[in-house]
Amino acid sequence: MARYELPVPLDLYVYAAGLVVVTSFVVLALVLGDQLGSRPVPCPRWEAPLLTWLGRSPIPRAAGGAAGVLVLLTVISTGLLGSQDPLRNPSEYLTWIYFATGLVLLSAAVGNLWSLVNPWAAVYDVTLGRRGWKPRLVLPERLGRWPAVGLYLAFVAFELVFSAANRPSVVGALALAYSVLTVAGMALFGRDRWLHRGEAFTVLFDLVGRFGPVDAERDERGVQRVWLRPWGVGLLEPTPAGWDLVCFVAVMVGAVVFDSLIATPSWLSFRASIGLWAHPLGLHAQAAARLLGLLLVCGSGLLVFVAVASVMVRFGRRTVDRDETVTAFALTLVPLALAYMAAHNYGQIVVWSQALIPLLVDPFGRGWDVVPLTGYSPSHALAGAAMVWYTQVALVVLGAVAVLALAYLRAGERFQRARWALLSQYPLVALMAVYAMTGLWILAQPVTR
């Protein structure tokens, strides 16, 4: 893709993004400033009869589970048995584009789709669940969601650190190993307990689904009802406090920021400058450097957020449970991760996702030609350089503004005085302005000239 020739210097875009974030906060303060109170922030929601009917029906879950199992089997089989050229193997596209990016963003847009298509839950339900299997062990409460945090960090590290992520056989083998681990975890510790505390993607999609517009809950009789709500307000619902959740969000944000940074002069220059230190590691030098970079970005992001949250609690002038408050504000960062993921992966989603189509008729690279699609090439209609750039600008700014809106509502609920809620937000406004400006500069590096 050709780079976009900016009509004005990049600096102007960057400063304008910061100014828009600050100005948006002023508007938010005027509109939301009287949203105060000790009860959870009230948000409008509307019952969706059609979705309620679908939610109570076993058909969507059965169909979704079957689709999820089919995709999982495709990833494993084509990864292990298909072409080892990553551009010609469906497992690469299904894993890194359709699952890790596409399904996440789609769930943010329409609701938690993972609860329908989770292949491991489907396998458990059809096998052990049907026999009334009882868990054998108890997962200690003090572990919280830390197993899921560790596994998610391992997943993003595999994606961003190791060149093996481009080897279909490794992707297939790891998908198989993770399947065994997950089903074993459900069998040992209980289906829901393992899924919601040890299975990385269930925790991820739980968070993403909270941003989505669909809210499903069971009433006192256990009957499911489905509601529609504005995007993002699900992140304001009460959540048990925990540094595990804060770290999970930090990894979500840090991973997508690092993914963008590795294409910039900042990373390339740093990698060159630590060449002397990494040289003794030989072939593993690049992976070690990337792992260090990923941990630095995630760790730094976490520490900066904790510092800002501590100042926010201080400015809030009210005695609050600190861990609970920090967790609550951490959830408001999810839109930032989603917006940045969409911005950074825009080209992948609209262009590279199409490359899967011809591979579906020849998944193992055997030269099958059942449907004549061999001449198919992806369309770049939605991926012109200008469109990519301005879409990224809009997404980054909207993400920062969404964070400020949610955080302001949360502050009104926590600190219960208009003036204190307002004062508590200034550190976050500064952080979001810096983040929008820095994020835009990073995204501009490979896209603009």
Binding site: A29, L30, G33, D34, T264, P265, S266, W267, L268, S269, F270, A272, S273, W277, L292, G293, L296, V297, G299, S300, L302, L303, V304, F305, V306, A307, V308, S310, V311, R314, R317, R318, T319, R322, R417, A418, R419, W420, L422, L423, Y426
Partner: protein
């Protein structure tokens, strides 16, 4: 709502008698004067250590990045201010540390050699987060201003080097500061607890503490009953000077 926007929230910082402050005392944080005073002292310590830490991080980063050339590089050109700044920051921290250790020592001495009971008042995670953020911000600002003064763009590698170097300094600094603050605050509390009883002009101070048991072996003229029958003042007490 209108009142909040007359000052955009800053009234609560400058006006402790803000009418909105009349809420249940269990909610109050900022209007407890000793707590506010303690918070300001902690903030001063954090700022001081962050300034010194950022310069220590600067030294570490340049040393790792440029090796033997780090020294001459940091003393010349636009970096010429650096040795004086680093030395000044180190001196300030050193002086504050000596004063703090002195206070801790005096408190221990007055307590008969035993350390005052420590209470951790600041979370280590919070300290680490604030120190790292301040140090990283100072470092990036320094590098940017130096680059602008040289007429060049900032060194792009300094973003990652800054994270690594400042984190390496902030972690031990936070641990040390946390330990020091808990001991220092305990010592100050112990000293302030002892001082009013020792030096108040209005508190009767017993100079000679004689046994007061009625069956004790006091001479008759010093037994409490005898003393009590005489007109004040008694010979056993005197006001402190």
């Amino acid at each position: 709502m209108q009142g909040a926007f007359l000052d955009w929230g800053f009234g609560t910082l400058t006006n402790p008698t803000d009418p909105q402050s009349h809420f249940p005392s269990s909610d109050r944080v900022a209007y407890d004067r000793p707590a506010v005073r303690a918070f300001r002292w902690r903030a001063a310590w954090v700022l001081l250590v962050a300034l010194a830490g950022s310069q220590a991080g600067h030294l570490l980063i340049y040393r790792l990045r440029f090796g033997a050339m780090a020294g001459p590089l940091q003393e010349s050109g636009v970096h010429a201010y650096f040795p004086d700044l680093a030395q000044s920051a180190a001196s300030l921290v050193g002086g504050a540390l000596i004063a703090a250790l002195g206070i801790i020592g005096v408190a221990r001495l007055l307590n008969g050699g035993a350390a005052a009971r420590r209470v951790r008042t600041v979370s280590l995670m919070d300290l680490l987060a604030v120190l790292f953020t301040l140090q990283f911000a100072v470092f990036l600002t320094q590098e940017t201003l130096e680059a602008v003064a040289e007429g060049l763009g900032p060194d792009p590698a300094m973003l990652f080097w800054g994270m690594a170097g400042q984190l390496a300094v902030a972690a031990p600094a936070a641990a040390a500061l946390s330990a020091l603050l808990s001991r220092l605050e305990a010592a100050v509390t112990a000293l302030l607890t002892r001082a009013p009883r020792a030096w108040s002009p209005h508190t009767p101070h017993v100079l000679i503490d004689l046994p007061t048991a009625p069956g004790g072996n006091l001479p008759p003229q010093l037994r409490p009953g005898r003393l009590g029958s005489r007109a004040p003042p008694t010979s056993r007490t005197t006001s402190a000077w």
